[in-house]
Symmetry: C2
Subunit: 89 residues, 2 copies
């Protein structure tokens, strides 16, 4: 956790796309995977990195694992950037 894992997670374009996709609501791993051309396992790894960074939450429902965005940790990044820009927040 911390800003490092957040920034690292956000540094990959596919992971950012996954987050953007989850803006529309919760989706299963398979649904997410379908949006990309890379393999399921590759997506699964990306999901676990995002989850580790607490950028998303997962919940199993039967055969499916649903992922949903947790944007709250992005607040820390916002504050860091704002401070760099010399904003009083």
């Amino acid at each position: 956790m911390g800003i490092q894992s957040t920034m690292k997670a956000l540094s990959d374009p596919i992971r950012r796309e996954i987050l953007e996709h989850l803006k529309t609501g919760r989706h299963s791993a398979g649904e997410i995977s379908d949006k990309f051309t890379i393999s399921g396992p590759a997506i699964s790894k990306h999901l676990s990195i995002l989850k580790e960074a607490d950028l998303l939450r997962d919940a199993r429902e039967g055969k499916f694992i649903y992922y949903e965005l947790n944007a709250s940790v992005l607040e820390e990044v916002m504050l860091w950037i704002a401070s760099l820009k010399g904003e009083s927040t």
Copy 2:
């Protein structure tokens, strides 16, 4: 350029520290380097990555090369995050 090079540049803790240091004003490569335990060439590489991402600007003055923060490109990151958080900006 683009959000990808910005995010990639920001994903390294030393590069973020360099930017934080430059919040206090312009500093020469040597002054920046003195703040860290890694070698000068390593810092030089970090500086070139930050410069490539347009996060800082450089200006030679005699023997010295001064670096200064360019926070303007961070606006794009702010907007991206805000949009993910479902903010109207």
